[in-house]
Amino acid sequence: MDPGRLPTRSSSPLPGRPERGDTLADILERVLDKGIVIAGDIQINLLDIELLTIKLRLVIASVDKAREMGIDWWEGDSTLQSLDGGDGDKRLERENRDLRERLERLERQVGTTGE
């Protein structure tokens, strides 16, 4: 993955700011996770998409320094509640463990070898 080749569309220029394009993250978070879901004739196994999104989430969870500052609302909480103390880190560890277990289960089910 080379972040350098990502931008395509120009983002809206703020005065005095360099323009930045949409990143792969911008696009994937929308086309995979959002958009209206309608059953097509080709039944894709949703496990397959889930497998990939779980991988993406694991990377987020393991590198994001924002979490050190207690910002973890994207874990389903929009009110920035758990800001006091290290509870967020414990929750992160737990969630990471859960995600890894789910990932392994899913990989066994779909018969891929993972990374």
Partner: protein
């Protein structure tokens, strides 16, 4: 069995005049399937890549996925320039035009409602990134820290560091709230998305906010002015607001129900 399948991008009003020049996913020509008041934007894709079995393997190949996601997005971007669109999730695929038409008939009410909700509105994304070190330094300047050697000074430094972290944390929450609240004032609907991972996004700062806002056409300029003002307000903290859009309204396509409470 045909060698081709029908890939669906999104739903638009049948009366809309479309002019799409981008090639579709896997190089197919963009076409339209209409049933009643609704038109599905489609193109043909090769069965050998997009039938259930090969698709399963392809979806787990990030390069393949990136290519297809960008092709899907490029078509929707062009459609968006002409009309309101209900974007479909990646990999909505039909055997043939007949299957696509039957879907339009079956989902008529849901799709018509979604189109009505999105008419005259745009989805914009705003991310707030901060430089964590600069934020901490601004919150608690190093000059205030205790100096010297020995146990007491050490403990004092530890206490100061803890205090600085608390201050930075509180400040971060205040900034996020201010930015999100200010932007929501221009929106009819808004969601906070998960922070993006660095490898995919290429951003080095800490992503404190990744918001999507559904904005009336007439309010878009005001949203940009506000974003510019917020940028100025938090420049000193190493903050950067990144505004992207307009997007196909992925985050609001499911109608009112898609919105999370503010």
């Amino acid at each position: 069995v045909s060698d081709e399948l029908v890939w669906a991008y999104g739903v638009v009003p049948a009366r809309a005049a479309l002019s799409v020049h981008a090639t579709g996913v896997a190089g197919g020509a963009v076409d339209a399937v209409t049933d009643g008041e609704l038109t599905l934007v489609v193109s043909q894709v090769p069965r050998e890549q997009f039938d259930a079995e090969p698709l399963r393997a392809n979806l787990n190949d990030l390069d393949w996925l990136e290519r297809v996601a960008r092709e899907h997005e490029a078509v929707l971007d062009e459609v968006l320039a002409d009309t309101s669109v209900v974007p479909l999730r990646l990999c909505t695929i039909f055997d043939d035009a007949g299957g696509a038409r039957r879907m339009l008939d079956r989902e008529r009410d849901t799709l018509a409602r979604a189109l009505a909700h999105l008419d005259g509105r745009q989805e914009w994304g705003v991310k707030l990134l901060v430089d964590g070190d600069r934020l901490a330094a601004t919150a608690a300047p190093a000059g205030d820290q205790a100096h010297g050697e020995g146990g007491a000074a050490y403990l004092a430094r530890r206490r100061d560091e803890r205090h600085a972290r608390e201050v930075a944390r509180t400040l971060a929450v205040q900034i996020v709230d201010d930015v999100d609240t200010s932007l929501r004032a221009h929106a009819v609907d808004a969601v906070r998305l998960r922070a993006q991972n660095r490898e995919l996004s290429g951003y080095t700062g800490d992503m404190l906010l990744n918001g999507a806002y559904l904005v009336d056409d007439g309010e878009v300029d005001a949203l940009h002015v506000t974003a510019g003002a917020l940028q100025d307000r938090y420049d000193d903290y190493g903050a950067e607001l990144v505004v992207t859009g307009p997007w196909p309204p992925y985050n609001f396509a499911a109608g009112e129900a898609a919105a999370q409470p503010a």
